[in-house]
Symmetry: C2
Subunit: 217 residues, 2 copies
DNA sequence: AATCAATAAAGAAATTTTTCTTTAATAAAA
DNA sequence: TTTTATTAAAGAAAAATTTCTTTATTGATT
């Protein structure tokens, strides 16, 4: 009878996963000057069922007009608000290696409400460098800097074997959410939000479909 | 009555998503010399229900021993085979920017059965460079090189607005699967496998949980 | 040797998510 | 003006996934 995650979740996770794509699509339409968009159009873009789009949007305050669709501007405004992209949250990134640097370079994170305030590493070669205006500090300075800045999220991009050490540090300081890019699972107290982003899962799905195709032949 | 994806899928996608983590965990245990592992241990590591692990593994040929668990070596061997990680598939990467470079540097892809044979870009500054032994060619050379090498997967890491152009090129040449890292959805024929890896979805999930916590207070 | 406790496995039940159906609205066409 | 076609919305049904329950096995303990 152990609860593995307190799911008092009104909005289904798959819905939340799809929403950023709806938003990106709507932003594109807005730039092109399109005023309305129907669930059919969105569904066609996403390659999913139109009623799925309707249902997803029904979790927000967006309402559509029969025979017309949804106002593009409304989708952009409401979704970015709804997804928490319109307020900036501050984060620290630990592990300024290949993946860490890529994330630091990515303006998309900024656009979607995440500001990486500082990066940390243990490699003397990278410490002191600035990556896309974000300074890389020695990991020992984590505490002091965390105190200074209002940081609620920690991003882990160190080698898998060091993930737990870094997570412990983040928890000890009082970070609320951890975005873990290593394939390792970390152990943290229940009230800390952990999001594991394992790219290799995607690879497994592709291979599975590829080989399934092979089997059918 | 349109079919959006032919799901003749025996193994649930969530199961496939979890398996690479089981594998990584088992590989770690193997290195430490542990011979058996129970579903309880795996579940504890993954923060999920033990019966979920049992059910997941039941899709493979792995069988466990009552009161003992599963043989670690068997999990490693069977899962890497099952997930398609034990045969090398060849890929091309288009867009040798920040994210593309990170992927090229990542030995994890190699370990999980993906060999990036060549990279492509349009930026003269990057063309000709070698990133982790993978050469960066001009995109115009895609066709010729694809002919030469046995490439079945294309990885897209160009800016979102160029994703469709690149996808079209890949399809025209005859690539079977596309791993799309841009937030844009691409249109391809039905027989092409597309895996969208949108990092921002993960961000949305974290924010949703964070703000939910705030609401509960 | 007998009992206990931990576990895998299989199936049932519950839950979650997607898809289908119906209804009502309304823009466009006849 | 009337008809037609497209759409959003709400709810029902279906499908997929997870969790629970039961059973059998077996290593460890008494
Ligand atoms: N590169 C990719 O595209 C990619 C893809 C998928 C997953 N990942 C995962 O992301 C993680 C990082 O991968 P990478 O390719 O960027 O590796 P990397 O070696 O390029 O970078 C890791 C960085 O972490 C630093 N580091 C190590 N221990 C540290 C510690 N205790 N505190 C602070 N910094 C520390 C290193 O000095 C290095 O700069 C790995 O777990 C990898 O599996 C990477
Ligand atoms: N950097 C990240 O961490 C990150 C995170 C999430 C998503 N993404 C997505 O990945 C994509 C790439 O991001 P990035 O940060 O690596 O961008 P980037 O600008 O660093 O790299 C893009 C590269 O693609 C090349 N390019 C552009 N058009 C091309 C074409 N038609 N053919 C071949 N090459 C072309 C550019 O020259 C450049 O080298 C974007 O869609 C971005 O949203 C990146």
């Amino acid at each position: 009878m152990v609860q593995y995650s307190k799911k008092i979740q009104a909005v289904p996770e798959p819905t939340i996963r799809r929403m950023p794509s709806y938003l990106a699509f709507a932003e594109g339409l807005l730039r092109k000057g399109q005023q309305f968009v129907s669930s059919t159009q969105i569904a066609n873009y996403m390659n999913i069922d139109p009623t799925q789009v309707t249902k997803d949007l029904s979790y927000t305050t967006i309402v559509g007009k029969t025979r017309v669709g949804y106002e593009v501007k409304a989708i952009v405004d409401v979704l970015s608000e709804f997804l928490g992209f319109s307020v900036m949250d501050n984060a620290f990134l630990v592990g300024a290696g290949s993946l860490g640097s890529a994330l630091l370079h990515d303006s998309g994170l900024n656009h979607f409400g995440l500001k990486i305030e500082a990066a940390f590493d243990i490699n003397p070669a990278t410490i002191g460098r600035k990556i896309n205006d974000v300074e890389v500090f020695h990991i020992d300075q984590f505490r002091d800097l965390a105190q200074e800045l209002n940081v609620i999220m920690g991003i882990i991009t160190v080698p898998a074997e060091n993930a737990q050490t870094v997570a412990d540090l983040m928890v000890a300081w009082g970070i609320k959410a951890i975005w873990n890019f290593t394939p390792a699972r970390i152990k943290v107290p229940d009230d800390i939000i952990v999001q594991n982003t394992t790219l290799y899962s995607n690879l497994a799905i592709i291979f599975n479909k590829l080989h399934q195709d092979k089997r059918e032949e």
